[in-house]
């Protein structure tokens, strides 16, 4: 990496960190309260979790196939945050949530998250390690393993959130065919297109990264959404400015 690119990278990381810390501080939050647009899919998901708890049906969170050593691991962390919240919200229910993943380290972390949620809700005695399972180690074997969970009659809510390929169309299609609630989000473009065509509640683009902020009001989640908006406007300004300078023949 050359010096200019390195400096720009360091600057972006430092500015983003500083902005997240500033916007998560209480004085700034009180002075400039966050205003977010409605994302109907997430609202309906919250309702579906409530219904699942009332009816005693299960919730399945599929975390994708991203390894924690890959750049796409951030989508897996979003999935883990979602799983954590689902575990907290469904603690009062009869059926504990189940998670499936396509990577060993992600599966182990999902068990950790489920233990954590069970401990918080006082339902540790109901926890079983099979709740956080590795369903396969290749993309298609992962999908095949996760299908057996989706086809379980006790599962009525499926959340597919993380890094998926187009093969995840099997999961969303199976869930929809069973009449289950299906919210699906991926950081992969092909999977997003497939989810849009096959899932009842698809999330597009960066909506995936908004899920934790919409599910729980952690100041850092909300702050990072605001920072993303600020950076997005920065990119828009750079793109338009660059185009104008190019047209003017200055660059």
């Amino acid at each position: 990496m050359n010096v200019t690119a390195s400096s720009a990278g360091i600057l972006i990381v430092l500015v983003t960190t500083a902005l997240i810390l500033v916007f998560s501080s209480k004085p700034v939050r009180n002075k400039f309260p966050a205003m977010f647009r409605r994302i109907p899919a997430i609202l309906r998901f919250k309702r579906a979790v409530g219904v699942a708890v009332e009816e005693g049906t299960g919730i399945h969170v599929s975390l994708g196939k991203s390894s924690l050593l890959q750049p796409s691991s951030t989508s897996a962390f979003i999935g883990l945050s979602t799983l954590n919240r689902v575990g907290q919200l469904s603690g009062a229910g009869d059926t504990p949530p189940i998670s499936t993943s396509g990577d060993g380290s992600l599966a182990v972390m999902s068990q950790d998250v489920l233990v954590s949620a069970a401990r918080e809700t006082g339902t540790l005695q109901a926890y079983h390690p099979d709740q956080g399972q590795l369903s396969g180690v290749t993309p298609l074997s992962y999908v095949a393993g996760a299908l057996t969970v989706i086809e379980d009659p006790s599962i009525r809510t499926n959340v597919l959130i993380g890094n998926f390929g187009p093969e995840a169309g099997y999961l969303s299609t199976a869930s929809e065919e069973r009449g289950s609630f299906t919210m699906a989000a991926s950081d992969n473009l092909a999977a997003q297109a497939v989810f849009y065509a096959t899932a009842g509640e698809p999330l597009i683009g960066e909506e995936l990264y908004a899920v934790p902020a919409y599910l729980q009001s952690n100041p850092f989640h909300v702050a990072s959404l605001r920072v993303q908006d600020i950076l997005r406007w920065g990119i828009v300004a750079v793109l338009i400015g660059g185009a104008i300078l190019k047209l003017a023949g200055l660059i």
Partner: protein, 206 residues
């Protein structure tokens, strides 16, 4: 309670690895490389634990509980044991092992991808039933439009300058859309990565 020591170690390690990505310092590299090696080893061990849980936890339980379609669990356990024994005895890089696994796994996965195309075609037929809104209609029309554009139907436009320009511009539209989505994803990844790095978001670690 979440351990502050673990969070601090996580932050320190993350910061060193990130700093090593931006600089070519030999000192940082000498710290960063062993850390990354340990991470790979830990990920491998985690993978092994998760596989053992899948085979001897999830599928053994399915057999014990006489779950529906438990025959698949028997096949999975048998395949796992055979591959493991042959892999240990002959070594995973042995040509016979490679050839056997590849000749079973690749055809099965290729067939599944072929079936996926049919599944998606069927799902797209029912798409408008589910998404009866302007976004759904736009998506459907865009899909048909780009199917046509990419099918080569407009190849005659090479002789018509105006149509050629329009078709060429249309080819750029999905690229622009994809870039827009990817920029949003990159920003989301950046913010999430920093949240994890500074320990502000830790769903794990208990």
């Amino acid at each position: 309670m979440k351990s502050p020591i673990a969070a601090f170690i996580g932050f320190l390690v993350g910061a060193i690895v990130l700093a090593g990505y931006f600089t070519n310092s030999p000192l940082l590299a000498s710290i960063r490389n062993p850390i990354l090696d340990w991470t790979v080893i830990l990920a491998g061990v985690a993978g092994l634990i998760a596989i053992l849980n899948l085979v001897f936890g999830v599928h053994m339980k399915r057999i014990r509980d006489k779950a529906p379609r438990q025959a698949f669990s028997y096949i999975l356990i048998l395949s796992f044991v055979v591959v493991l024994i042959v892999g240990i005895l002959a070594g995973p890089t042995h040509p016979v092992v490679q050839k056997t696994v590849t000749n079973i796994q690749v055809p099965v996965e290729t067939s599944l991808m072929a079936v996926l195309a049919i599944t998606l075609a069927y799902a797209s037929l029912r798409f408008l039933q589910r998404q009866r809104n302007w976004m759904g209609i736009t998506f459907f029309i865009a899909t048909l439009f780009f199917f046509l554009i990419n099918s080569g139907v407009f190849s005659f436009s090479a002789d018509l300058p105006v149509l050629r320009t329009i078709v060429s511009a249309a080819h750029q539209l999905p690229v622009a859309g994809a870039r827009g989505i990817l920029l949003g994803i990159a920003l989301g990844s950046l913010a999430t990565g920093i949240r994890i790095l500074i320990g502000a978001d830790r769903p794990y670690n208990n």
